[in-house]
Symmetry: C2
Subunit: 254 residues, 2 copies
């Protein structure tokens, strides 16, 4: 298996940098090929800019620019390199500290810039149906979020004040991974790292090691397919999770 | 009133740039003072980097660096300028196209860099309680999300395949605004802008104009206060929305 680990650790000394390295070495020990992208080390610029598309100025929606640039070969070499890494990966791992209930900008901007229209989304099947949510450019790949957060686990639980961590990660697992056809594995969330009850870095490393030794047997989150379970207006069919409107309705029952 | 409008429009020609300008002019016509930050025009770099804190290398958690830099006067002038704009604002408006179910990185990175520890979070009251979720550094301010998305409104409804737009915006309205004490006004969501049913830019401008003419009478989202409605482990008290675990439980019933 080829794994692409994308780390949004702000520095080499960060907890998440440590855990990304543990994830990488664990996969390598199991015979997998690993590319570890440390976005801060790469000095990754997270903003979409005209230079991504070989133009001086954006005069159309960015998706249009991306399609045109791919066709004319003027997509920025940096973007193309990362797209090639993504294309080759069987497993995409995003490792980050949870900042403001989501990814740090450096990682969000990796997605914004690399997941371009025509490459990552905007595709249709032979019947003209959109290939998204369960199908798409990256069908066949798996995805995994590894995140750390300061507050205690209870505060990220189903009724926790921060919102349930599953719901906070929905935009990534469902909105990025599943949207593009990537099957998301259940996230590895290391919570309470700033709380008095944190068990410390050795425990966190052990959790990462254990999880990455056993990825092969992980079942992906059972998100529903757009073409199977939603109506023409893209609403969940009444027969599924009737009367409910929480984000968990988008998973098939266990 | 002083309003700070932060626009994540990728270009001057973008729909969201147009709408941010309409929002600004509408507020000015009503006698309010407006600062409009166009992050792309400012060439805003969204990544947290050591230079933000006047150091060569990050050797501690970024929050610690931020506190130290504020104390020693070495916080980057750019960050301090934006903090001063935020401090003076009575209303903070975030205008952006919804990308990958969230803010474009350039805007997420405005929050990551400007909302520093000690300035935006990490404060305690005289009893030692954390000042967050209904109290905080920015208590007294109001916040407003204005966002556009390509897919039709039904697909962002309570059972829509993209997830309910209210839930996708929870990390901003609750996780950023309410966390820091900012009262979030109900978001203005302009959906379906890439769909055949879109009513066009004049209609979108009219919606923005109407909303910004009437902000004074808007009731904020009735999110619950940490110190009132949650237990010591920061879980919603059993008596509120019993048995439920969707994100809407964090709002008081109408």
């Amino acid at each position: 298996m080829q794994a692409l680990i994308v780390s949004a650790a702000p520095a080499a000394s960060s907890l998440t940098a440590d855990l990304a390295a543990v994830a990488g070495s664990t996969l390598r020990e199991q015979g997998h090929e690993v590319v570890l992208l440390d976005l801060a080390l790469l000095d990754w610029h997270p903003a979409v800019r005209p230079s991504d598309y070989g133009v001086e100025e954006l005069t159309a929606p960015v998706g249009k620019h991306a399609v045109d640039a791919a066709a004319s070969g003027s997509l920025a070499p940096e973007v193309r390199r990362h797209q090639e890494l993504l294309r080759r990966a069987d497993l995409v791992v995003l490792v980050f500290p949870l900042w403001w209930a989501g990814m740090p900008a450096i990682l969000k901007g990796w997605v914004d810039r690399v997941f371009t229209q025509g490459f990552a989304y905007g595709l249709r099947d032979q019947q003209g149906n959109p290939r998204k949510y369960g199908d798409g450019a990256f069908a066949g790949k798996k995805g995994l979020v590894v995140t750390t957060a300061g507050d205690r686990a209870e505060a990220f639980g189903p009724r926790g004040v921060n919102g349930h961590i599953d719901d906070l990660l929905f935009p990534i697992n469902h909105g990025i991974f599943w949207y593009t056809g990537i099957e998301p594995l259940p996230p590895l969330t290391l919570l309470g790292v700033d709380s008095p009850v944190w068990a410390g870095i050795e425990d966190a490393r052990a959790q990462v090691r254990k999880r990455f030794e056993n990825l092969a047997t992980d079942e992906p989150l059972p998100y529903r397919r757009l073409l199977d379970d939603y109506d023409a207006e893209r609403r969940l069919l009444d027969e599924h999770a009737p009367g409910r409107s929480d984000l968990a309705i988008h998973r098939r029952p266990a």
